[in-house]
């Protein structure tokens, strides 16, 4: 028979144990509770075996339960000691690689959600044929200016071309773009010759659309943005008829996001025969050069003189726009190469590895050491690629020459200073355990430079090495040196 009101004490004791268990680290809590509950059962059996409630017995049982708090606190302190052991990882090779991997993961994640970076990373969408130039009036000093009237383009098309395989024309003008019954909005529409996208080499739109028998309407390529914004990402838009200004056109395709890299931004491109392009504002003429002209190019430009029918000569610039379509990879590789070339100017690339003693690390240690340096550099190169793109397209959702410039600058600086850090970091890592040496201490006196060395001594917390960095380089001590500690020092470095 159980004593009356005995349940109150039992509940109280259970509450004490449960409260104490909150202090126990989560992974040990379940087993800890099981042990204390079992012990409590035995304590109760030993202290209060009779039916009557004994305050003295309950006091002893409660005192037993209060001891659970000390036990729980001990386990909690133990888990903190484990945390301290983790803190010893600080400065280790794994710690360094972990942080590099974390930065890489963050920059890669951002690159995968940034529209501008996603577009940049798909060069198959925007890469055009080689040997293409934009022709511009030589008297116009601005870059990428629309300077060629459509009449001049037509006359060039009629002439025999010795230096160009093909020509195309386009100009941007603002017109109303409307589908179905809605009134639509004013959009930038590129009016181009029918061969515009073919000359660029961009596979955009269905060639059949708009060309099939009975379809006399001009073809329209809709930009990705306009397709989403104005047509609600309609999957059945292709081959449908829409209105551009007063004209009915047939949609031939949707250009992939970021596909258009040439000067002038358009929401759609209306492609029509040369004769159908209305006279009006000047536009751009695109030409594909023969190899002989390519060799004449200097600084991505070629000077062109056109002999007109009336005997006069007109001068033009042919400007390559390859830099707009080469993608981020070219800039990245160039800046990486530049960084490697600049590195010796910023820091000594020698990895200090001299020793007072005859001891040398084993070849496996050396392999691990170089593999660690290689790992750091690989991480840095990947971080440079993604982080420079993230920063370049932080405020820009599509390609622009400015974004390319920002990518160039960040790519170079991240890479060159990253490599500098990697080399400096490597120089301060113990050759045995790859921990960073710490606890710098001044050694010697500058006034005794010629009698004994003076400088800074750093210590490997694992007790493997000391690094001596001379304060004043001398002929006999001009570079940092590693001093290997033998096993007799180990007792000082117990972990």
């Amino acid at each position: 028979m159980k004593p009356p009101f005995g349940w109150v004490f039992r509940v109280f004791d259970q509450c004490l144990l449960r409260s104490a268990s909150v202090l126990v680290p989560g992974e040990q809590r379940s087993e800890w509770q099981q042990e204390w509950k079992a012990e409590l059962w035995h304590v109760r059996q030993a202290c209060a075996p009779t039916a009557a409630v004994s305050l003295k017995a309950e006091e002893a049982i409660t005192a037993f339960c209060l001891g659970a708090f000390q036990d729980a606190l001990y386990l909690r302190r133990g888990s903190r000691r484990k945390g301290t052991r983790l803190a010893l990882m600080h400065g280790s090779a794994w710690h360094c690689l972990f942080w590099l991997a974390a930065v890489l993961a963050v920059s890669y994640t951002i690159a995968n959600i940034s529209a501008g970076v996603i577009a940049e990373r798909h060069p198959e969408h925007y890469r055009v044929r080689s040997n293409l130039i934009l022709i511009q009036d030589a008297h116009d000093t601005g870059d990428w200016a629309a300077t060629i009237p459509v009449e001049r383009y037509r006359s060039w098309k009629r002439m025999h071309q010795e230096y160009f395989d093909d020509l195309a024309f386009y100009r941007i003008q603002h017109e109303t773009l409307s589908a179905g019954g809605d009134s639509g909005g004013v959009r930038a529409v590129g009016h181009g010759s029918a061969n515009l996208f073919a000359l660029l080499g961009l596979s955009v739109g269905s060639k059949d659309a708009g060309n099939s028998a009975g379809n006399s309407e001009p073809r329209l390529i809709v930009s990705y943005d306009a397709w989403k914004r104005d047509f609600g990402s309609n999957p059945h838009l292709i081959n449908s008829l829409i209105r551009v200004g007063e004209r009915r056109v047939r949609v031939a395709g949707v250009a992939p996001y970021g596909a258009w890299r040439l000067p002038g931004e358009a929401d759609a491109w209306m492609l029509e025969p040369d004769s159908a392009i209305a006279a009006g504002a000047a536009g751009y003429v695109l030409a594909h050069m023969t190899p002989s002209v390519r060799s004449e190019m200097w600084n991505e430009r070629v000077y062109i003189t056109v002999h007109e029918a009336d005997g006069s000569d007109e001068d033009f610039w042919g400007i390559s726009f390859e830099e707009r379509t080469q993608g981020p990879w070219g800039i990245y590789l160039f800046t990486v190469m530049l960084s490697f070339l600049s590195l010796p100017a910023l820091t000594s690339v020698a990895i200090a590895d001299y020793s007072f003693s005859s001891h040398q690390p084993s070849w496996t240690r050396n392999v691990i050491r170089w593999a660690f340096l290689g790992g750091k550099i690989i991480f840095l190169l990947a971080i440079t690629y993604f982080l420079s793109l993230d920063l370049a397209y932080f405020s820009s959702t599509r390609y622009s020459p400015g974004a390319s410039g920002v990518q160039f600058i960040f790519s170079f600086f991240i890479c060159v200073f990253g490599l500098r850090w990697a080399v400096l970091d490597q120089r301060q890592r113990c050759p045995v355990c790859l921990r960073r040496v710490t606890h710098p201490a001044r050694v010697g006196l500058a006034s005794r430079t010629f009698l004994a060395w003076n400088g800074t001594e750093l210590m490997c917390t694992g007790g493997h090495t000391l690094l001596h960095v001379p304060g004043l380089p001398t002929s006999w001590f001009d570079a940092p040196r590693w001093v290997y500690l033998d096993s007799s020092w180990k007792f000082l470095f117990a972990e």
């Binding site: 099981q34 042990e35 079992a38 035995h42 005192a63 037993f64 001891g67 036990d71 001990y74």
Partner: protein
């Protein structure tokens, strides 16, 4: 921990109690007269120092006796040699908690 490591008197008493056959936390408390707040943390410490090791009793045994299963403790080889060193350090230890071997002599 080395076998000649110096244990506190309390830790030595707990080690001696376990060696004497008091293999549960509460029985160690009863034998040594130490409170639960001392005995259990000390046993955790001895276990982490590899002087004792713990093992859960088989559930079937506990079920047969209609009680919860208990965790019991045993000395390791290191614990045994440490206890030997502690006995030399604290000569009264064996008199306070006589082990089974001592009693049989």
């Amino acid at each position: 921990m080395a076998s000649d490591a110096k244990l506190s008197h309390t830790a030595a008493m707990i080690l001696q109690a376990i060696d004497a056959g008091f293999v549960y936390g509460f029985s160690v408390m009863e034998m040594t007269g130490l409170p639960s707040g001392t005995v259990y943390p000390a046993m955790r410490r001895l276990e982490s120092d590899n002087l004792i090791r713990s093992q859960w009793e088989k559930q079937s045994i506990a079920d047969a006796e209609q009680r919860p299963a208990r965790k019991y403790y045993k000395l390791t080889a290191t614990g045994r040699s440490t206890l030997e060193a502690s006995r030399r350090r604290y000569p009264l230890l064996e008199r306070m908690i006589p082990s089974e071997e001592t009693e049989s002599k």
